[in-house]
C-alpha cells in the first residue's frame, strides 16, 4: 500500500513563536517496501510518522495511504518509541487489545494473541504485566500488539532506541524476518545509521529543522538481510554516504541551537 506525501507542512504553535517542523515534504513510500527515515534529533521524524498514521493533524499538503480514500490511520498501526503499553493489562490482554476493540470474541482473540506472543518469543509470559518485564520483552509485546492488527502499513518510531546493543540486534533480526515473511509497507524512524541501512530498502535522510528531505539513498543490499552484512564493503559505502549527509545536518542543527541560545 503506497504512502504518498505531497508538500506536507507542519507548523506547531502560534505566531510569533511558531515552529516550522516540516517544510514542504514530498515523497512516495513504495508499497511493501521498508523505508527508513533518518535525521537529526528534532527534525520532524516523529511528526511525519504521526501524521501518516492519522494521529496528528497537519497544517497543509496532502497525505494519502492506499487509494481507497479511507481516513488516515485506517490502514496503519504505530509502534511507539515510548511503547505506550497498558500497565494494568497482562501481556495477552495488551496484545489482544485491538481485537477486543473490534469485538472479536475472547477465545478467538486470546488464541490469536497467544500465537503472536509465541512468535515474538514470549511464550510463558502471557499473564505477566508490562512492569514485570525487561525492556526488550516489553518491546516485543509492543510489536505483537501492532502485528495483531494485520494492517498493511506499520509505522515504527525509533522502536529499538532504548534497547541495549545485544537485544537490539536480536530485535532487528526478528523484524527483518517478520518483514520478509509478511510483506508490509514499513516506515521506520531511526537516528541510527547502521540500523537504517541494515533494515531498509531505502533510507530517506532528512535535514535539520525545518525538516525537509535531503536525499533518498536506495539500499541495494540483497535480502534476506543479516547482521553479518554490516562488514561488507557495500554496506560500508552506504554507511559512509549516509554518515556524510547526517554529519552535515547534525552540524547544522547544532549551529541552529547555538544561534537560538546566543
Amino acid at each position: 500500500m503506497d504512502i504518498v506525501v505531497e508538500n506536507l507542512v507542519q507548523v506547531f504553535g502560534e505566531a510569533p513563536r511558531e515552529v516550522l517542523a516540516l517544510d514542504r515534504v514530498s515523497h512516495r513510500f513504495p508499497s511493501e517496501r521498508f523505508t527508513c527515515i533518518l535525521g537529526p534529533s528534532g527534525c520532524g521524524k516523529s511528526t511525519m510518522a504521526q501524521i501518516v498514521g492519522g494521529i496528528e493533524p497537519y497544517t497543509s499538503g496532502t497525505v494519502t495511504v492506499g487509494s481507497d480514500g479511507q481516513p488516515l490511520g485506517t490502514h496503519s498501526v504505530m509502534v511507539w518509541q515510548q511503547l505506550n503499553l497498558f500497565p494494568w493489562r497482562t501481556v495477552i490482554d495488551n496484545v489482544a487489545f485491538g481485537l477486543e476493540i473490534r469485538g472479536v470474541a475472547k477465545p478467538e482473540r486470546n488464541e490469536r494473541a497467544r500465537r503472536l506472543i509465541a512468535s515474538v518469543g514470549l511464550r510463558g509470559f502471557e499473564q505477566h504485566r508490562p512492569p514485570q518485564l525487561s525492556g526488550g520483552m516489553r518491546q516485543r509485546v509492543a510489536l505483537a500488539r501492532a502485528l495483531i492488527m494485520e494492517r498493511p502499513v506499520m509505522l515504527m518510531d525509533e522502536p529499538f532506541a532504548a534497547l541495549d546493543a545485544q537485544t537490539k540486534i536480536v530485535m532487528q533480526e526478528e523484524l527483518v524476518r517478520i518483514y520478509e515473511r509478511s510483506k508490509r509497507t514499513i516506515l521506520f524512524v531511526t537516528h541510527a545509521i547502521d540500523e537504517a541501512i541494515l533494515l531498509g530498502d531505502e533510507v530517506v535522510v532528512m535535514t535539520a529543522r525545518p525538516g525537509r528531505i535531503k536525499e533518498v539513498i536506495p539500499i541495494d543490499l540483497p535480502r534476506p538481510r543479516s547482521q553479518e552484512m554490516v562488514n561488507t564493503p557495500a554496506f560500508g559505502r552506504l554507511y559512509d554516504r549516509a554518515l556524510h549527509l547526517i554529519r552535515e545536518e547534525v552540524l547544522n542543527a547544532m549551529k541552529q541551537q547555538e544561534a537560538m541560545v546566543g
Binding site: 504505530m78 505506550n84 485491538g98 504485566r129
Partner: protein
C-alpha cells in the same frame, strides 16, 4: 570467615527486628514506674496497667464493642456516600470540560472551608441524629475523593490514549478501557484520604454537645467529663487500633484493585 559474617548479620537482623518493641516496652515501663512511685495523679495520667484493666473491662461489659461498632457503621455510611458521589463527580469533571467548568467554582469555594464549621448549620437543618453525622463526614470526604479522581483522570498519559485510538478504540472505549483503569491508582489514593477524614469527622460529630449517646466520640467525651481518664485512654487505644486496621484493609484492597502499581510496601 563467611560463616562468622553470617552469624553476625543474623544477630544484627534480630536486633533490628526487636528494636521497636524494646523501645515500646521501655517507655511503658518508665511510664508505669513514674505513675506508681512519683505520685502522679491517675486523673491526669493513669498507669498503663490500669488502662489495660479498663480496656479489658470495657471489652467484657460490651460497651467498647458497642460504641466502636456504631462508629464503624457511621464511618462506612459516610464513606460510602462520599466515595460514590466523589468518584462520580470527579469522573464527570475529568471526562467533560463542561462538567469541570460547572463544578470547579463550587469546589474552589467550598474546599478550603473547614468542614467542621458547617456543624452548627447542619444541626439546624438536620438535627443531631444519624443523618447529620453521615452528612458532615460525607461532605468532608467528598472533596479529597472528587479532587483526586479528577486529577488522576486529567493526568492519564496521553500516549496511552493515542495508542488506544491508533488501535481502533472510540471515545467510549478509550474512557472505559484506558482512562478509568489508568486513573484507578489515583482514585484509590483519594479514597484513602477520604477515609481518613471520615473517621475524624464522625468521631468529632459524635463529640459535639449532646448530639449523641453512642459512638466512640461520645464515649471519649463522656468519660472525659466525669474524669475517667483510664476510659479516655482505653478509648483512644481502641480508636488507634481501629484506624490502623481500616488503613491496612484499605491498602490490601488497593493492591487487589491495582496490582500493577509498584508500591513501597
Amino acid at each position: 570467615m563467611a560463616v562468622r559474617a553470617r552469624t553476625k548479620s543474623k544477630t544484627r537482623r534480630l536486633a533490628y527486628l526487636a528494636a521497636p518493641y524494646l523501645v515500646i516496652t521501655a517507655v511503658l515501663a518508665a511510664w508505669e514506674f513514674a505513675v506508681r512511685f512519683n505520685g502522679i495523679q491517675p486523673i491526669f495520667l493513669p498507669a498503663p496497667s490500669s488502662i489495660l484493666k479498663y480496656l479489658v473491662v470495657m471489652i467484657l461489659d460490651g460497651s467498647l464493642p458497642y460504641h466502636l461498632s456504631i462508629t464503624f457503621l457511621r464511618i462506612i455510611a459516610g464513606f460510602a456516600v462520599a466515595g460514590v458521589t466523589g468518584i462520580f463527580v470527579g469522573v464527570a469533571m475529568g471526562m467533560s470540560r463542561l462538567a469541570a467548568r460547572l463544578v470547579d467554582p463550587w469546589i474552589a469555594a467550598l474546599y478550603p472551608l473547614p468542614k467542621i464549621s458547617l456543624i452548627p448549620l447542619l444541626i439546624i437543618w438536620l438535627g443531631t441524629g444519624e443523618t447529620y453525622k453521615i452528612v458532615i463526614s460525607a461532605v468532608t470526604a467528598f472533596f479529597p475523593v472528587a479532587i483526586s479522581t479528577f486529577s488522576a483522570i486529567r493526568q492519564v498519559d496521553s500516549g496511552l490514549i493515542k495508542a488506544a485510538k491508533d488501535l481502533g478504540a472510540g471515545v467510549r472505549q478509550i474512557q472505559f478501557k484506558v482512562v478509568i483503569p489508568a486513573a484507578l491508582p489515583g482514585i484509590t489514593s483519594g479514597l484513602q484520604l477520604g477515609m481518613g477524614v471520615t473517621i475524624i469527622m464522625v468521631v468529632a460529630a459524635e463529640m459535639i454537645g449532646g448530639s449523641s449517646d453512642s459512638g466512640m466520640g461520645y464515649l471519649l467525651i463522656h468519660a472525659g467529663q466525669v474524669m475517667e481518664t483510664e476510659k479516655v485512654f482505653a478509648g483512644l487505644i481502641a480508636l488507634a487500633i481501629f484506624g490502623a486496621v481500616i488503613t491496612g484493609v484499605q491498602k490490601r484492597i488497593d493492591r487487589l484493585v491495582a496490582p500493577w502499581v509498584e508500591r513501597e510496601h
